[in-house]
């Protein structure tokens, strides 16, 4: 695997150097280089939006720090939760006096580190509330939603909650919007190849040529089944067919659709998939009001795609179409 790195153990440090050099609108916090915040954060009088997670998913997570989005992010090692201290420092960096919403994904490490960070924040007299994304349908059966992983649906939650906070929403309102967003979002991924963590030097899972792993996680967590590859249109049907009945979505629904490549899958193919997804949705009577296609949430150079569908209501449609600007998400 040929890579553009200096030392495999320093990829996160080196990436962060590049990020802050290229983006004056972003900064590392003075005493914690593993926290990236908007240069203008904390914004006084605004609810702070915080997230965090392992690296290797770029533009997630730090690419969503920006205008009307996330205020500060805790940055972990590749595929590994940030430290509790980093989550805490991100909370401090985002706290404009109206409380902090920590909106993150359901992974053991993140859960634990956020829990410890909140202890620290409470000791420091801060108000922090959390919403945990659990949009990944194949990661646990219906009825066991609390066990599901958070995947690209997190982005939709940052988007709506970020807009709500920017529009002056209170912490209660921001949390309610984030929770509503993730409650109405369902996702699924299909993996077509593995990826290699630079420090490990070899893949820790494998997908054969001619096979796809349906329901795979962002770190190669096993999916529901390994099957022969099918056409993009069939993939779209499988994905839509998994996602729609789970909520369930219904005829007449307006939705936001987010298709993300996992890293190495060309944008061309993501649009080919989108075409199939849109068709499958419209056959189910579901209208795509907000389509989003691109490398939003990757796993290094994994091949594959994820689909996230958010059931909109008037409030969410307004918030999701609100302008925003960041590395990973721009909207006028």
């Amino acid at each position: 695997m040929n890579r553009v790195i200096n030392h495999p153990d320093l990829v996160v440090e080196d990436m962060l150097k590049g990020i802050v050099a290229a983006h004056p609108e972003l900064q590392a916090t003075p005493d914690n280089p593993r926290v990236i915040k908007r240069s203008c954060a904390p914004v006084a009088g605004k609810v702070g939006i915080v997230t965090g997670g392992g690296s290797g998913h770029e533009p997630a997570f730090l690419g969503y720090v920006g205008e009307n989005l996330v205020d500060a992010v805790a940055v972990g090692e590749i595929f590994s939760s940030p430290t509790a201290k980093s989550f805490f420092d991100a909370m401090k960096a985002a706290d404009g006096g109206q409380g902090v919403a920590c909106l993150y994904g359901n992974y053991a490490g993140d859960n634990m580190n956020v829990k410890m960070a909140i202890k620290m924040a409470e000791r420091a007299g801060m108000t922090v509330r959390t919403v945990v994304a659990n949009d990944d349908v194949p990661s646990a059966p219906k009825g066991d939603e609390a066990k599901r992983r958070g995947v690209a649906g997190e982005i939709l939650m940052w988007k709506t909650a970020g807009a709500c906070a920017a529009l002056g929403g209170s912490l209660d309102e921001v949390i309610a919007v984030a929770q509503k967003t993730i409650d109405r979002t369902r996702s699924i991924g299909i993996g077509l190849s593995s990826c290699v963590i630079p420090a490990a030097g070899k893949a820790n899972f494998h997908i054969e040529d001619g096979k796809m792993e349906v329901g795979i996680g962002h770190h190669g967590e096993p999916g529901t089944n390994v099957a022969d590859t099918v056409s993009a249109e069939q993939m779209a049907k499988i994905m839509v067919g998994t996602v729609l009945p789970d909520l369930p979505f219904g005829r007449g629904d307006r939705v936001a659709v987010l298709i993300s490549g996992l890293g190495a899958t060309p944008l061309m193919e993501q649009y080919i998939l989108y075409s199939g997804v849109e068709k499958a949705l419209s056959e189910a009577g579901v209208t795509v009001a907000v389509p989003l296609v691109g490398n939003f949430f990757t796993s290094l150079e994994m091949m594959g795609v994820t689909l996230s569908v958010l059931q909109l209501d008037e409030e969410l449609e307004k918030l999701i179409t609100h302008p925003c600007a960041s590395i990973g998400f721009n909207r006028k």
Partner: protein, 216 residues
Amino acid sequence: MNQGIDLKSSGAIVLALIDIINENRAYLSEIDGAIGDGDHGINMSKGFSQCREALLAKAELPGLAEALDTLAMTLLEGIGGSMGPLYGSFFMGLSEALAGHAQLDAALFGKALAQGVEAVESVGNAKVGDKTLMDTLIPARDAYQAAIAGGADFPAAIAAMLEAAEAGWRSTKDLQARIGRAARLGERSIGVLDAGATSCFLLLQGLGKGVVSRLA
């Protein structure tokens, strides 16, 4: 006997724990490599080494309670993933129980151990049989408390704790992982020791030895 050890002069026990982790760095990663991602020794050694630096940076070596707090905080600062919060909570639990005391006696050790284990449980939610460090920790605490309840003195109770810790650690070999990275392997996780259970046994052993040697 039975009286206890002076906490203020026992901060070096934490230095001993740091040595144990650094000495077993390669071994712990090797165990993790079999069914995990092979970084347990690296993760632990990173955090524990940071603690050594923090302790040595102080004007003088603090007492055991503060040293344990420093360890907890550096783990929470220095290592993400699961180990930071799990061991961070454990040592924070110990430290909080000891804070304000001059002497560590059998009762206080039992209270601290219980508080540490409870903190890990509450953050990690793992149970005995999940193939994690809880398979070392919970039997160890239970054995300690049973020994005390049965009239054992401090060193004997620590010996009972370590015996149970070792048995619990070894039990992980035949368990199927239900939590953590190894869980994805299903049945293939059976047949090798758990990395976290291993480091946990080594740490309890270091702690026990440090206390017992100071009791003489």
